[in-house]
Symmetry: C2
Subunit: 384 residues, 2 copies
């Protein structure tokens, strides 16, 4: 029996798994200490009441004899797709919007749309799931280098598919209109498709928060968004993406056939909760949470910068990307932060070799932890 | 740009889509008539109260500052995995059980485990999602014929992977220990893997309700189960499957790496609901629902048989598989039932060419509809 040998290639050495094992061991050996997590990109606010109430209502429907809802919403509830369209993609048709159960799966599953011999390009550093999805599916892949400011450099060679993450995880930056326009131009010239992972778009206050703001992008770009960060749905699971009808003759309808054959829809309860997000009052409350995270990011950025760290991102994203001091490697910085400061960060090299010498800091935590973290770093610097 | 041309091969002519379009048109033209559905295999009982209550509790946790649950349960909640193990797979480790968001996706996604050149065998007739998943993923596939009683015939040639559905959709039968033992023997000899779709196992009152009852099966079989039918989770989404550690050196751990890179776990709310199913009181209530569906199946089977139809299945499954009368094709039977009797059935040919000349009847509906359906068929037969 021959299994998929590509699964053996998935790197287990530089991974979140090693991070979590190191943390586990440290906590085991120091059970009474307060370890602050600026690590994994999970939210700290719970789900707000109006959204929770709507989900409870959905469960009551599901337990009522005449209101029960079963199969049938393969592409998402019509009401949710319409709300997404009206609020976020007014120039699209409802059929161009697909509701799904998580961007992590979506950015891998979408590879089924492309020819098996497609060459996939991934700028480095980047969200490691792109590379691991591509590897596990046995696709051809090449990393695309970034410039000194972590802007992916337009390649001279041909790619069929290019992953883009904006606001970027881990670098925490958005890209200028000029940069994105050049990439759209490249994609058009090469007949390539850009997979635009826009899961953090709610954090963008100034700058481009959708690839479709760029002229010509509907012909070459698929955009992904998620409810995980904005309404704390990381445990509930609901995402969405846009496949424009202009992308290629028939591609949208091909994907409809693929979807109905491979997926039975996102959970009804999750979708009902997502619907409640689009109420004005919910949105207002959510905006306050996002502002809180962005304020966290500002505190971290100001604090780290004042301590002599070179910091990227953290303005239109919940992540900061920090250059290690004293030429420490990513893992050396990680160990220093964990063992000396009792702060969890993520080693940059996990996001690809372009991330060596950097680390990622998440601003999605609680304010008191953010302040305490800065205090610990400052105290250690001043008493060295 | 080259897209995945395999998606063009997905058959749209003989599909559930055509069924639903025909129904839509009929209802549009006859808005006041009562059309009875014995078609799509969705349940008619709502979610029972103890399960709904547990899900509401989960949402309250998700909206509490200190009880919020986000990322982290890639393979399922430990409590749920343990309950599944203890109740249904006592001879397995918890690490061998994966909780997921739906068997429709699971039976396609699992193909990532196998080498790209694997030859996949699918007995015909069968659940069409197997063939469509295999085609859309560009895998090599061959249909495996069944004998006159719809038992798949052991092939002379080599296959790497074989789909099995038991209780079978659409044929509604289970397989004898003898039949399954022969297939396990074949798989061992050929070094093949059997994908055993066991989504309807709760309907088995007598006979084999898990492939792991067959000796040696842990070395060659992966079993899939679902909460959709048993606790009416078709809209909620929760499934599970077993990858035995014996299957192949390292395969289980390889799949763990694959899963963490492609999936962020089933919805927390769904999993909490599934946990509540394992309470004794819930199980008792659910058993009553299953008995009700099986009683429906008996009524349909007795009724159709007494009217001269040749009927398969419907004893340990919610489906009946019926030979068309008067040499009607599957679609001719469908049209006769819809236009003359106002009853929805599913043309057998949708399940593959082995299903031509048959149709599928679902027993998952309401009792009064089942009785009325039989009455209509009888009246039409008697007044012809």
């Amino acid at each position: 029996m021959k299994f998929n040998e590509n699964l053996h290639k998935l790197d287990n050495q530089d991974s979140f798994y090693v991070v979590s094992e190191k943390i586990r061991k440290y906590k085991e050996n120091h059970p009474d200490n307060k370890v602050i997590s600026l690590g994994i990109g999970d939210v700290s606010f719970p789900i707000i009441k109006p959204i929770a109430d709507k989900m409870i209502e959905a469960i009551k429907e599901e337990s009522g004899a005449s209101s029960f809802v079963g199969y049938g919403n393969y592409y998402g509830l019509p009401e949710l797709r319409k709300l997404i369209r009206d609020n976020e993609y007014p120039s699209f048709d409802i059929e161009e919007i697909y509701v799904s159960q998580g961007t992590k799966s979506d950015v891998g599953d979408i590879l089924e749309l492309f020819d098996k011999d497609s060459l996939i390009g991934i700028p480095t550093p980047n969200y490691p799931i792109y590379l691991n999805s591509v590897i596990s599916l046995g696709k051809k892949v090449k990393l695309i280098p970034c410039d000194m400011n972590f802007i992916p450099i337009i390649p001279k060679e041909h790619f069929d598919v290019i992953y883009f993450c904006s606001p970027n995880n881990p670098v925490g930056i958005t890209y200028s209109k000029e940069t994105l326009s050049k990439w759209i131009e490249y994609a058009k010239k090469e007949g390539a498709v850009i997979l635009f992972d826009n899961a953090y778009h709610h954090f963008v206050n100034n700058g481009i928060d959708s690839i479709y703001e760029i002229e010509g992008s509907k012909e070459v770009a698929i955009e992904f968004r998620s409810f995980s960060k904005v309404i704390s749905f990381s445990g509930i699971r609901c995402s969405y993406y846009v496949i424009p009808k202009q992308l290629h003759r028939d591609i949208n309808s091909l994907w409809r056939v693929r979807t109905i054959n491979r997926f039975n829809g996102a959970s009804y309860v999750a979708q009902k909760g997502a619907i409640a997000y689009f109420d004005d009052l919910s949105k207002k409350e959510i905006d306050k949470n996002i502002s809180y995270y962005l304020e966290n990011a500002k505190i971290l950025k100001d604090g780290l910068t004042s301590l002599g760290y070179k910091v990227y991102g953290g303005e239109n994203a919940p992540y900061l990307w920090v250059k290690s001091k004293n030429n420490l490697s990513s893992w050396e910085s990680f160990d220093y932060f964990l063992n000396t400061l009792e702060i969890i960060i993520i080693p940059g090299v996990i996001f690809g070799k372009g991330g060596e010498g950097y680390f990622r800091v998440s601003a999605l935590g609680k304010r008191e932890d953010i302040l305490l973290a800065i205090k610990r770093i400052r105290y250690d610097e001043e008493t060295k």
